[in-house]
Every structure is written in C-alpha cells, then in structure tokens.
Symmetry: C2
Subunit: 657 residues, 2 copies
C-alpha cells in the first residue's frame, strides 16, 4: 500500500515531466518552422525550418532555402522584392494570428492569455471547470505556435505553464490516488508548473521557485521534492526530442568575464526604480485597457481586434531596427557585451558614425512597451515573460549607454580611474540588460527570489547576483508603492475570482462580529434538524442561492449541528421519489422528535463544521481561510449560531478596510 501510493506519485510526476518536455519541444519546433514560413520555404523538405534546411551548409551556399521573392521570381526588381517579401510577411503574420484567435474563440475560449492568473486561483482551491481539459490543451498548444510565430509581442512561457497544468490535470486522472482528491491533484499541478518554467528557461531550480513563490498556494515539502524531480525529467525529455533546440539557456548565455564595480550600484538602483515605475504603468494601462475592452463593443469582435493589432504591430515593428528582429534575437543581442563578437550597433561609440543609437533604443523600448500592453488581453494564447524581458533589456541598455556617456563626458575619467582605464568602456552593457530584464519582470509580476535564481542559473555566475538583487529589490519597492499588486493579482481582481492573497499580512483591526454587521446578505437561513418538510426544502432551494445551509437544533435554540451542501441536497431530492411533500426530513442524528415516516438524511450533513467565535479577530479568520483552504465558516457565540461567512464575504470585507 505504501509503496503503491508513493510509487504512483512518482510515476505520475514522471509522466507529467516527460509529456511537458515533449510538448515544449513540439511548440519550439512548430514555432521555429512557422516563424520562418513568413520569409520563405525549404525546397528540399518543406517541413524543415531555415536552420535545419541549411544544416551543415554555409548560409550563403544554401540554395535549398528560398525566400518568397526567390520562389516567385521577384528577386530582381527591388520594388517587386519588397512587395512580395513584405506582402507575404504581413499576410502570414495576420493569418496566423487570426487562425489562433479563431481556434480560441470558437473551440476553447479558456486558451486565451497566459493562464497564470487562473492557475493561481485553481491552486488556491477555486474550481474552473474545463480550464485544464484536453480541448484547452490542444487549442493552447496550436494557438501558441501560431500566435508566437505571428510576430506579436508575446511569449510562450506563460502558456507553457498553462499547458503543463493541463497535462498535470489530465495525467492525474489516470491515478486513483489523485483522480478523486482535489487537494492531492493540486500537488501534481504545482509540480507541473515548476516543470513548465524549468523547461522554458532551462532553469530547474528557478522553475521550482516559481511554483513556490508565484503559482502555488499550498506547497508542502513533498511537493517541493517531486516538483524538482518533475522539472528535471522535463528537461531531459526536451533535450531528447529537440537536441538542436535553440533553448533559452543558450540564448541568454553570458560570458563569465563580466565584472562590475561598486559605483555601478547607482545605475543599478536607477534601473530598479525605472523598472518599478514601468511595471506599475504596464499594470495600470493594461487593466484600464482590459476594462475598456470589456465595456466597449470591441469585445464582440475579438478576431477583428486580433487581426488589427497584428497588422499594426507588424507595420510599426518594421520602422525600428530593434523591433524588426524577433524578441529572442533582440534579447540575445542586448545581453551580449560590447566586445569582439558583439553587434556594434548597440554599443557606445556607434552613434558617432551613424545616427544616435540611444534614440533608436528608446524608440524600441516605447514601441515594445505599447505592443506588450495592447497585446496582453487579446484572444490569443500569450505570455508576458519574453516581452517584458525584452523591455527590461532595452531599459538596461539605455541606462548603460547613459552611464557610459556620463563617465566619458561629465565625470572626469581621472576620478573614476581606479575602476576603468581611459579609452576602454567602463560599463558592461550586457550586465545592465540582465539587471533590467530581471527588474522589469519584478516590477510587473512582483516576484523576487525566483528571478534572482533564474538569472543565476542562466548566467551561472554568483557575480551577477548582487546587481540583479539590487535591481529587483528597488523595482519591487517602487512597484509596490505605485501599484499595490502584480499583474496576475490584478487580472484575478478584474475577473473577480475569489482569491485570498497569501503574500501580505492583512492588518484589519476588526472582529468577526464587525463583518457580520456589515454583511450585505444578512438573512440567516438555517435548517432545523427535525422540523422541516420536503416541500419547504424544495421552496427554500428555489428561493435562495446559498451554497451551504447550517443545520441547527431548533430556530429558538440555534445550536449548531452541522452544515449541508446545496449540491448534496439537490442531488438527494432529485434521486429520491419523494412519497410525501409533507414528510419531515431529519438531519441530526440526535434529534429527539424523529417520528415514524421521517426521511433520514443525516448522512448528507457535515457534522464537524469549522466554527469561529464572534469575538475572533478577522486576521485569525483570514489565516484559517488561507491555510486550511476553507470556503466558509459558521459564526457562533456561546454555542449559538449567528451567521455564515464565506470566502467572498471575507474578501470583500478585507478589501474595504
């Protein structure tokens, strides 16, 4: 029994790990191919992307890969070349985005967005039916391939978390231990979440920390270890399927030679402050936009909206060299340093020859920020990680350029002599970009340790931990001061999910009695344990919408016997051919007045309700709801029932105080 139980847990996370890894590899390969399809096609094998089409062939000799102008013979006239190239590019981009939107709107509406906000709610105990089903999984997988290939400003890491949660949910149905136990199932979902982000960033510990810090509500020590295992298996699986994969760890790999000096902490603090402001601005704008979208007539034409936004994004992105390239390439180049192997366009000194790189980067930052704000919320699968990393990297480079300019022009190099030699670049802009990326993510999502660890795993050097921490810390402080919650909590608020945030202390100076006094729906409907007829029960269920009914000894005494779920009552009433509408229903096993002909429904009653005293402090009640995963408590005083408090009542009260 012990070995079977323990074994099924490990087998389940093993299966989830493999499946998550394979899904991630499929999405990577699909997106790579689709993304290249905007530019051309492999003539030998059409299913190969540019890289694999020209595998082991120098790119200028690779005749197998043909661009659309080449295929259509429009390569010789410059106007024709541009028309075919740009035409195909825009057409493919818009069609892919529209196809993704069609899939989402008509087949699985839950596949839209990143899904992390909803998964937070699910992991806190809220049930959203079909959110983690097979259909959502399939649509999200194809949708994210299409939408990320379309060139919209979105990432595939958030959706990967949703995909992995679907996988966790579907897999856990095969194991009896998990199929019928929601709490246990959440353990598997936590592990899936960890695996998804581990694979997305090639950072196993970072993934587990993400699950712990951001996604999961309850996180036991068993889950910790299994999440780690799941993350590792997923990492091995993705390497097995897609060994050439241009996975993010390679993408973000940074040379170990980067060094920083103590005075640079000032620009890092500046990055942090700007990132915090940017993060809050993003949340505020995005929320305003989402609210406006909901209320306006746009909400009736989601597909047209996607088409329009894709079209505008594609056109505008062409105007700036930094937005023209893919986000991954942009990030890779921003994280690079100004050394022998780097692209000179991003580096200080370049502007002297050809226009001012500072303004280009600033322009790209503004464009990326606007694209990301507008894109988050449209009806395609869309994550927030990569776009915000791009914004952060641009911000970091901007601060690096400014610092370099300050050092060269304002501060005499002599006073800075201990730190850098004349003529050399004193600033390592790649490091600034890394700090910026982490800080903007922190400003938007309000994560902390997870981001430090992900950056640590990506760069592999403890040297970067201090700058990253400084940036993240200031971003979080400034962010919290300008907008109280992160983007996921804001989305949860917007959707009205009952989510009791477990990150901050509630300091409400009130008691349960104060809550009961202001509760809008104050009427207390109770069932007497042996004095209610079937007919009355049916009327009661029809007239009220309460989810639970307390059972008491009698209306006069009001001593709590237990409580009963509406669902159970309805099911019982539906199942049974009721002989007599006037038959008395008995709920309490110790009811004395149970005469003959009574219906004994004691089994429906939960005899051990959680009760709180009317004098109890709200803070303690909040703790109980959070930590024990309650949905309601009964309020008593001296043994007498005074009312019922649901999670929603509590949330509303805490928010208004």
């Amino acid at each position: 029994k012990f070995f079977f139980d323990s074994g099924s847990a490990w087998f389940c996370v093993f299966a989830v790990g493999i499946w998550t890894g394979v899904t991630s590899a499929v999405v990577d390969i699909g997106e790579g191919w689709m993304s290249d399809l905007k530019f051309g096609l492999c003539q030998r094998n059409f299913w190969l992307n540019r890289e694999h089409c020209c595998w082991a062939i120098p790119s200028h000799n690779c005749t197998d890969w043909q661009t659309w102008p080449q295929i259509f013979g429009a390569d010789h006239s410059m106007v024709g070349h541009f028309a075919v190239d740009f035409g195909f590019y825009v057409t493919f981009a818009v069609s892919m985005a529209v196809f993704a939107a069609v899939l989402v709107v008509f087949i699985a509406p839950y596949a839209a967005g990143s899904g992390i906000a909803e998964i937070k709610c699910i992991l806190s105990g809220f049930v959203i039916r079909r959110y983690l089903g097979v259909r959502t999984y399939a649509v999200k997988m194809f949708g994210i391939i299409l939408s990320s290939a379309s060139g919209l400003s979105l990432g595939k890491e958030g959706p990967a978390v949703h995909l992995a949660s679907c996988i966790g949910n579907i897999t856990s149905r095969w194991f009896p231990k998990y199929a019928n136990n929601e709490a246990k199932k959440r353990e598997i979902l936590s592990a899936s979440t960890a695996a998804a982000l581990s694979v997305a960033f090639g950072a196993p510990i970072g993934g587990v920390m993400f699950s712990l810090e951001e996604a999961s509500y309850y996180f036991t020590f068993k889950t910790l270890w299994r999440s780690f295992f799941c993350a590792l298996i997923a990492g091995l699986a993705v390497r097995g399927v897609n060994p050439w994969g241009n996975s993010l760890p390679t993408l973000y790999h940074v040379e170990h030679t980067i060094r920083w000096v103590v005075p640079e902490l000032i620009p890092f603090v500046v990055i942090g402050i700007l990132a915090g402001l940017l993060g809050s601005a993003f949340i505020k704008l995005n929320m305003a936009l989402c609210a406006w979208r909901k209320s306006s007539s746009i909400s009736k034409h989601p597909i047209a909206e996607v088409a329009f936004i894709t079209f505008v994004t594609t056109i505008l992105a062409y105007s700036n060299p930094f937005t023209k390239m893919s986000s991954s390439l942009l990030i890779r180049q921003m994280f690079n340093n100004c050394g022998k192997d780097s692209t000179p366009e991003f580096c200080y000194g370049y502007p002297l020859e050809s226009g001012n790189v500072f303004y280009y980067i600033l322009g790209a930052l503004v464009l990326k920020f606007i694209f990301t704000t507008v894109t988050a919320g449209i009806k395609v699968p869309a994550g927030l990680f990569v776009p915000n990393i791009a914004v952060g990297a641009l911000l970091g480079r901007l601060v690096a350029l400014s610092t370099q300019w300050l050092v060269n022009n304002v501060i005499s190099v002599d006073s800075y002599k201990g730190y850098c030699k004349m003529g050399e670049n004193c600033v390592t802009p790649g490091l600034y970009a890394i700090v910026g990326a982490a800080a903007v993510l922190s400003g938007v999502m309000r994560m902390t340790v997870t981001l430090v660890i992900i950056m640590f795993e990506l760069t592999g050097s403890i040297e970067f931990v201090v700058p990253t921490m400084i940036g993240i810390m200031f971003a979080k402080w400034v962010g919290d001061a300008t907008h109280p919650v992160g983007i996921y909590e804001a989305q949860i608020d917007l959707c009205g999910y009952p989510f009791l945030d477990n990150r901050d202390d509630e300091t409400v100076e009130a008691s349960v009695g104060d809550l009961l006094a202001v509760k809008p729906n104050r009427e207390l409907i109770v069932l007497e344990q042996a004095a209610i007829s079937v007919g009355r029960l049916v009327t009661l269920l029809r007239d009220t919408s309460f989810c639970v009914f307390p059972v008491v000894t009698s209306q006069e005494e009001m001593i709590v016997v237990g409580f009963i779920d509406r669902v159970h009552l309805e099911r019982q009433l539906a199942a049974q051919v009721v002989p007599d509408q006037n038959a008395t229903v008995v709920f309490g096993s110790n009811a004395i007045s149970a005469g003959p002909g009574c219906l004994h429904w004691e089994k429906l009653v939960d005899m051990a309700p959680i009760c709180v005293n009317v004098h109890m402090k709200i803070e303690i009640v909040v703790e109980m709801f959070r930590k024990l995963g309650l949905r309601q408590v009964l309020v008593t005083n001296n043994g007498h029932l005074l009312g019922v408090i649901t999670k929603k009542d509590l949330l509303k009260f805490v928010r208004h105080n």
Copy 2:
C-alpha cells in the same frame, strides 16, 4: 508607519546578516589559529596561524613558523621529535576539548551539540528560555572554536546555525516590531538560519532552502525574500572580514570537465542505497548511545567523557592516513579527481605499488563513522554536516574504486568501449565522492532539494545535478524505509519536545471523540463564568497543573464562553490583595448572576477560543495545529464543551496510531 515598519524589518535582517558574517569569520580565523597551535607557533607574531605566518613565503623557507619539536630543540632525535610532537598534539587537543566542555557545562549548557533540533522546535512555536541568549551565544562561539580545533569528529556548520539564531533573537530585541511578537521574531530567526548556512557553505540559495526545507516551520513569502537578503549580506560581511578565508566554496570547488555516462547511474544508485543504510544506522546507534548515556552514570561526568573521547579519537586517528588529516583537507582531496593535480594515494592504480588503498579508505570510513556517532551528543558544541560529508566522500570513493575495478577486471572493456578508452580511468572518483557526500547527508538528515542546490552551488555545474539527485533520492527512500525520521526529529523525540512534524501526512482514521476517549487525564476542569470564589480558584490552581482552563456558562449547561491562561490567573491573584476569599469571580461579560462585590476578571478571558467539533477528523485537527500554530483546542458538541486537546495529547495520540 508603513515605511518605518518595512524599514525596520530590512534593517533588522541587515544587522543580523552583518553580525552573522562577522561571527562566522571570527570562528574561522580562531579555529585556524587554534588548530595550528597543536603543531607549532608563529615566532614573529604568535597570533598568526601557519598560513598567514608564512604568507608570501615558500613553505620550506618559512622560518617564522616553528613546530613544537623545533621550539624545544627536540628536532634532531627521531624519538624526541615524535614524543614532543605527539605529546603537544594530544595535550592541546584534549585541553581544548575539555576547556570547551567546561565552558558548556558550567556556563551555558544549551551551547552543547548542534542546536538545530531545538531551533526547529523554537521555529515551530515552542519556547525554550535562554536558548538563544547572549550567554549561550558567547559560550557557543568560543566553544566551537575550541572543539573544532581539537580535532574531534564534528563540524562548525550546525553550531553556526545556532549562533545565527542567537544573533537573530538578540537583534530583534532592539526593534519594537519584533521584541514583543513571537511570530514576527520567528521570521527573523528563519532569515538568520538561512544566513548561517549560506555563509558556511558559500551557497546563498542553498542556505535559504535549508531554512525553508529543514529549519523553518512557518515560512511566508516575505521571509523568503528577506532570508535571501540576509544571506547575501552575511556573505559580503564574511568576505570583508576574512578575505583570505579558506571558505568551503573554494574547498569543494571541482573542475568543470568531469563527465559521467549513463551506465554510471548504477553505482550512483548503489551509493544512494548504502548511504541510506549508513544514515539510518547512524541515527539508530546515536540514539541508543544517547539513551544509554542518559541512564548511565556517565551523564554525571560529562567533562571526563569529553576528555576520554578526545584522547581516543586523537590516538586512533593517527593510525590511518585519511583520518590523520583534518576533515576539511580530507574532503577536499576526496572531491578532487585523479588527474595531474591530484594526490595519487587516493586513486585507482596506487594500491599496486604500496598496499591496498581500498582497505585504508574502508578503515577510515569505519573510524570516521564511529567517531561521529560517539561525538554527537557529548557536551561540546558540535555539528553534523562536515563529519557526515567526510563519511559520504569516503563512501563515494570506495564505490568509485570498486566500479573502476569491476570495469577493469570483470566487465570486458570492449563492451564498455563506447564510454571509455583502454588504459584511461573510466570513473571520475571526485564525482562519486560528491554524490556520496550528498547521499549520506540525505540519509542522516533526510533533506533533499537543499542538498541538491548546495551541491549545485558548490560545483557550479548543472551536469552534476542528475547524479546527486539519484544518490539523494535513493538515500532518502532507503533511509525512510529503515528509520522513519531524520536525526533532528529523532533528537526532538528523545528530548520530548512537543513538535508536530509538518513533513508527512498523518493518515489517522479517527475523530476527535476517539482521542478524548483515550486521553489519559480525562477529568475536565472548567470555570463557571460567575460561580467560583477566589478561595476555590486558589485551590484549583494548587491542585491541578493544566495550562489553560475553559470558561463555561455553568456546569450544567457547559456552553463555552472562552478560556483563560493559568499564567494570567496566577498573575492576577498575586497582584491583587484579595478582600475576601469568598468573593465571586466573574469571567463572562454576559453573566447574569453578577452581584455586587464581585471581582470582574473578564479581561483575562480569551473570548474567541478555537473550538473543534467532536466529530471532526483528527487529520484536520492536526492541520489546524500545524498551520495555525495552536497549543490547544476546545472540543464541543452541539455547543457543549466536552474537553480540551493540547498539542501533547495530539502528538501522543498520532504516534500511537
């Protein structure tokens, strides 16, 4: 208010970080000097250790450092040299250990051992007065310098955790936010714990995970971030104070070229299984020894015991080349590979020339294991990390030697051809030692993710994560199967602290009623809210030892009003000159029979007790105790009080079922 609150939290962890770092550096420097004192003295400046005495001088030219035989002119006769050398060595070792024991026994008994078990209890809400005081701190600091310099088989990492907790406790007294709030203070203690282990292993993330996985009971997200900050500050502080420090990260640094192949997973599993068995054996033997020590007359002569064990350890350690050297040096050499820079004595092939290295390592393993088992529990500050790492490294090398022998002699090299070339060593013994160290720690302490992360941070390569995880996983499985709990939980059991383990699910199929039925002390003493005289109250307090008394409406009705702490009652009785022993005390604010001349003690009563229903499942009650940090609950049925369940009652019941 917000900024002051938040600021004081950060300032507090900052101070703790600095102080912890400085303490760690002082202990390191002190131990280095004392350790070298056994061999000789720096003639130029007696306060320098050998390394700093001969700083920048080639060791054979360093005349400043003189060994005892040189100082006493006994260097020319071999017998004299040996006599002086060995005599000083043994004398210093025994005196240091005895001095440490004297400090512990006469000044601060709580400074003995590692203290991690007690800190686990403290972090779970148990109060041990003076355990984290200034006196314990001072004695532990000097004691650990002495005891680890004496050459006993013990480490200074566990005591570092205790030291940091003292620092956290002392520092938090300066901040009003923490001084009067035990729950908040525990947050600081969690951060201190993280900082201590971070500094000890140079692994900031590993330290935080240690606090999360092993030490802390409640761990909020705020704590996570502050612990990380504290760990980082401590790391910077230790570098500031002791920049030459031979800190562990350097000690354990491994070349990045180590590779492993899939068939090697089999020896890694073998290491895991052996480590699990070794871990359980260690716990069982150590517990048996501690129990025997407690019952026998040895417990009356702790200092003599320390002297005896140190003497025997010193003599026996001389018999084996691997135990002769310090644990740190042993571990460093075991973790090294057999390459150009390594010491050949540990490598395969060496035995062909001079005796069998296998038996030497086996002998060292047995000796180290016995030393560690005997040492854990004597009255000096003593940690378990380093000795167990040494045991594990020896075990790993042993398996590596066996594997190499198998590959060379039993398995034909041809069938292994894909993996290693003839004549080369197929096995990288340093990696085996790392896996062994992690696995034995897991077998002894039953930690998992923490160990993977520490190993990851020490080696800096993701390559080692898989072997380490395999070793740890099997060690934990085998360990759990042969001895249910880790060493710290076993110590907690032995000491009888009320600690409700939060790592495993209790699957007790019983209700609160079942517990009440078997509760040994079943008599229910209640206070009536308005019908007890002062005299009766005094008698009650004298005759019973309950910590809390429930207050009810009346003996007949038994409806719960609240409960009252014994301490509050006693204090009130002591403070007040009671006018009349027959005066009635009123506890309930809604008591009707409150006549004139009554004493109104309503303020002493906690009007919002946590009550559970008699039908409630024990599992849920356990969750409530764990997650809400309760000490007792009142049991009711239909509003009537049936009994009180304390944490100890619950612990006893859960253990017996």
